[in-house]
C-alpha cells in the first residue's frame, strides 16, 4: 500500500470565512474512505479544495497527492495526474457533446503523459462498454454535456467520466443525492468497478444508504471543518440511527 493523499493541518478559507479548520487525513491505495457530516460542515469545501477550485484558498497546511504538493498544481494538472472530482451538481454544457468532451479529456491526459491521441475506435469501444455499465443510452452521448439529463442521469454520467478517465484518487461529492434506489445501485457498481489495489476513493455523503453498496474501509465524521470521529461502517449506521448531534453536541 502506498500513500495517495496526505492532508496535514489544513485550513481553508472561502472569502473571509474559514471553512476547513485543521484537517488531517491520510488515504492509501486500495482504500475507500467515507466522509459524513451535517450541512455546512465543510465536506464539499474539502472536495473542491483538493480539485483546485480558485475560490477555495489554503491558508495553511498541506495536501500531498503522492509526491506532489497539490497547491503547486493547476486544476488540470491535478486531473491529469489522476485526481477526479465527481460533482454534487454536475454542470450542463450545451453544444459540447458528451462524446467530444470525454475524448478531449482523455486526450488531454494522454498528451500530459506524452502519449498520442487514443484511436477513435479504441475510444468508442471503451465508451460503449462503460456507458452500458452505467446504464447510459448511446443517444445521450451525442447530446450536450449533461444537457437535459435528469438528476440521476447526471450522476451516472459523472461516474462514466470517472471510469473513462481512470483516475487514481476519486472524490465523489454527494453522488448519491437525488438518486433513486436503482440509480444508486448503478452508481455503486461503477464505483466498485473502479476500486482496486492501486486506486483510492473518498466518498462524501449524508446518508448511510450508499455505503450499503460501497463498503468503506473508514468512515469519518466532519464537523466545523475537521474530522471529529473516525470509525468503520458501524459508525455510519450509528449516525443513521442517532443523527449527528450525539457527536457534534455531546
Amino acid at each position: 500500500m502506498t500513500k495517495i493523499l496526505s492532508i496535514k493541518d489544513l485550513h481553508v478559507d472561502v472569502g473571509n470565512t474559514s471553512i476547513v479548520n485543521g484537517l488531517n487525513l491520510d488515504i492509501s491505495s486500495g482504500e475507500t474512505h467515507a466522509i459524513m457530516g451535517p450541512n455546512g460542515s465543510g465536506k464539499s469545501t474539502l472536495a473542491k479544495t483538493i480539485a483546485g477550485h480558485p475560490d477555495y484558498k489554503i491558508r495553511s497546511g498541506t495536501i500531498m497527492y503522492r509526491d506532489h504538493d497539490l497547491n503547486d498544481l493547476s486544476i488540470e494538472e491535478r486531473s491529469n495526474l489522476g485526481v477526479f472530482l465527481g460533482f454534487q451538481y454536475p454542470i450542463e454544457i450545451p453544444g459540447l457533446s458528451n462524446t467530444a468532451f470525454l475524448k478531449a479529456a482523455i486526450n488531454a491526459k494522454r498528451k500530459y503523459h506524452n502519449l498520442g491521441d487514443l484511436s477513435a475506435s479504441d475510444f468508442l469501444v471503451d465508451l460503449k462498454e462503460k456507458s452500458r455499465m452505467m446504464d447510459i443510452e448511446q443517444k445521450f452521448l451525442s447530446r450536450g454535456v449533461n444537457e437535459g439529463f435528469s438528476g440521476g442521469e447526471k450522476k451516472r454520467n459523472e461516474i462514466l467520466q470517472m471510469l473513462m478517465l481512470e483516475p487514481v484518487l476519486s472524490i465523489l461529492d454527494e453522488t448519491d443525492s437525488g438518486l433513486d434506489i436503482d440509480s444508486m445501485k448503478v452508481v455503486a457498481s461503477g464505483v466498485n468497478a473502479f476500486r482496486n489495489e492501486n486506486t483510492a476513493s473518498l466518498i462524501i455523503t449524508h446518508y448511510e444508504r450508499l455505503l450499503n453498496y460501497i463498503t468503506p474501509d473508514y468512515v469519518h465524521v466532519f464537523h466545523n471543518g475537521a474530522i471529529i470521529k473516525t470509525g468503520d461502517i458501524q459508525l455510519a449506521r450509528d449516525l443513521e440511527e442517532k443523527g449527528y448531534e450525539w457527536l457534534t453536541n455531546p
Binding site: 483546485g52 477550485h53 480558485p54 488540470e76 454544457i93 468532451f101 479529456a105 488531454a108 500530459y112 467520466q161
Partner: protein, 424 residues
C-alpha cells in the same frame, strides 16, 4: 464613441461633385435616381446622425473618409483571389469593383446589369422613393451603386441549388453592393451572401427582400473580418401571408460594422427568425439594429443575437418589436446574450417591445457577462487546459445559433470560419 467631426457642407459638396463628374455616359433613369437620392440625403443626413441608431457607431468617421477611397472600376479576374472550395457546387455569383459577374451560365431568375443600362434593366435596381427607405445607407447606396443583383423566382419555383454570392476582397475601395430578392408565390430559395475580408474600404450593402404568399427563404449573411474598414449591412424585408423567412448572420467585425434590419410581417401567418452572431475583437466594433413590425394577425417573430467581444472590441444591440393595437394572435421573442472575453471589451444592449394589445405572446431578454467560472472549473477538473476549456464554452455559447442552420454543409462551413477566425 461617435466622431462628431463630419464637415457637412464639405461632404455634401464632394458628393454632388461625384455625381456631376461621373465620366460614364449613364442613362437618365440612373442620373435621376441619383439626384433624387442626393436631394433626400441632404434633408435627412444631419438629422439621422443624431439618432440612437448611429449614436454608438463610427458612421461619421466613415463619412469623413468617404472620398478617400477609390470609386473607379477595376478589371477583375478570379485568379487574383484564393477562394474556399467548400461551397463550390453552389451557383456562384461574384461581386467586385462595383459590378457582379459569374463564370457560368445564369438561370433566368438571376439578373444583373453586365454593363447594360437599358430601360429594361432598370427593374433590377427596384428603386423606391417611399419614406421608410429614407436612410443614410439606402440613399448613399443609390448614389454610389453601379450594379444590382436581382434574384426573382417564378411562381411555384423551388430552387434546390444554393445560391452563393461572393463579395471579393477590396483594397482602398468605396463600394455599394445591392441585392434584391423577390420570391413569387409558393416559391423557395436558399442564399448565402458572403463578404470576404477587405482592407481600408467602405462597404455599404443594401439588401431588399420581398416574399409573396406561401414563399420560403433561408438567407445567410457572412461577413469576414474587415480590416480598417467600415461596413454597413442594411436589410429590408417584406413578408406576405403564409411565408417563412430564416435569416442568419455572422459578423466577424470591422473598424466599424453595422447592421440595420427592418423586417415587416405584412400578411397573416408570416413567420420570421433572425439570428446574428457577432464577434468583434482587437479594436473592432459591431453594431446591430433590428426593428420588427407585426403588421398582420397571427404573425410570429424570433430574434436571437449573440455577441462575443474580445480585446478592445465594442458591440451593441438595439432591437425593437412593434405590435399595434389592431393586431391579434401574434407572438414575438427577442433575446440578446453577450459574452465579454476581456476587461476592455464593451457592449450595450437595448431590447424594446412596443406592444399595444393583450392578444400577443411576447418575451425579451438580454444578458451580458464573462465565461462562467464554474463551467471552466468543471472542464479543467477533467484535465482540459484553460485555452481549450474557454474555447469549448465559447463554442457552447455560439452553438445554439449555429445549430439552427438547417444545412449540415453550411453549418460546418460557418463553424469552420469561426474556428479559423479564433485561431487567427
Amino acid at each position: 464613441m461617435a466622431n462628431q467631426s463630419l464637415n457637412q457642407s464639405d461632404h455634401m459638396d464632394k458628393l454632388q461633385s461625384f455625381i456631376e463628374n461621373d465620366s460614364r455616359n449613364l442613362p437618365d433613369w440612373v442620373n435621376q435616381g441619383r439626384e433624387s437620392a442626393f436631394k433626400n440625403y441632404k434633408d435627412i443626413c444631419n438629422k439621422q446622425l443624431k439618432t440612437a441608431t448611429w449614436k454608438n457607431t463610427k458612421l461619421n468617421s466613415m463619412l469623413d473618409n468617404f472620398f478617400e477611397k477609390e470609386f473607379t472600376d477595376q478589371e477583375t479576374s478570379l485568379n487574383q483571389f484564393e477562394l474556399d472550395s467548400t461551397l463550390e457546387d453552389s451557383l456562384r455569383i461574384f461581386f467586385h469593383s462595383g459590378a457582379f459577374f459569374t463564370e457560368e451560365e445564369m438561370p433566368s431568375y438571376i439578373r444583373f446589369l453586365k454593363g447594360n443600362y437599358s430601360e429594361e434593366n432598370q427593374a433590377i435596381f427596384r428603386l423606391e422613393n417611399s419614406s421608410e427607405r429614407q436612410s443614410i445607407p439606402y440613399l448613399l447606396n443609390n448614389i454610389i451603386s453601379r450594379d444590382a443583383l436581382l434574384i426573382e423566382t417564378a411562381e411555384n419555383q423551388h430552387v434546390e441549388k444554393l445560391i452563393h454570392i461572393v463579395h471579393l476582397p477590396h483594397k482602398n475601395a468605396n463600394i455599394a453592393p445591392r441585392l434584391n430578392i423577390v420570391l413569387a408565390k409558393n416559391s423557395s430559395i436558399k442564399i448565402i451572401d458572403e463578404q470576404l475580408s477587405s482592407g481600408d474600404s467602405i462597404i455599404n450593402n443594401y439588401i431588399d427582400i420581398k416574399c409573396e404568399e406561401h414563399s420560403s427563404l433561408d438567407y445567410y449573411k457572412v461577413s469576414h473580418a474587415q480590416n480598417d474598414s467600415h461596413q454597413i449591412n442594411s436589410l429590408n424585408l417584406d413578408q406576405e401571408a403564409n411565408t417563412n423567412v430564416n435569416v442568419f448572420s455572422l459578423d466577424l467585425g470591422a473598424d466599424s460594422a453595422s447592421s440595420l434590419n427592418h423586417l415587416k410581417l405584412n400578411g397573416e401567418n408570416s413567420n420570421v427568425s433572425c439570428s446574428t452572431l457577432f464577434m468583434p475583437s482587437i479594436d473592432r466594433s459591431s453594431h446591430h439594429n433590428i426593428i420588427i413590425d407585426h403588421l398582420s394577425d397571427k404573425s410570429s417573430s424570433s430574434v436571437n443575437y449573440r455577441g462575443i467581444i474580445n480585446d478592445h472590441g465594442v458591440g451593441s444591440f438595439f432591437g425593437k418589436i412593434k405590435v399595434t393595437k389592431e393586431r391579434r394572435n401574434t407572438s414575438a421573442f427577442m433575446q440578446n446574450k453577450n459574452l465579454l472575453l476581456s476587461d476592455d471589451s464593451k457592449i450595450s444592449t437595448i431590447p424594446i417591445l412596443e406592444i399595444y394589445n393583450d392578444d400577443t405572446e411576447c418575451s425579451h431578454s438580454a444578458t451580458s457577462g464573462s465565461l462562467d467560472k464554474e463551467k471552466l472549473f468543471y472542464l479543467k477538473t477533467r484535465g482540459i487546459n484553460e485555452y481549450d476549456a474557454k474555447n469549448f464554452l465559447i463554442k457552447s455559447f455560439m452553438d445554439e445559433l449555429v445549430s439552427q442552420i438547417k444545412s449540415r454543409r453550411l453549418r460546418e462551413y460557418v463553424n469552420g470560419l469561426i474556428l479559423g477566425y479564433r485561431k487567427d
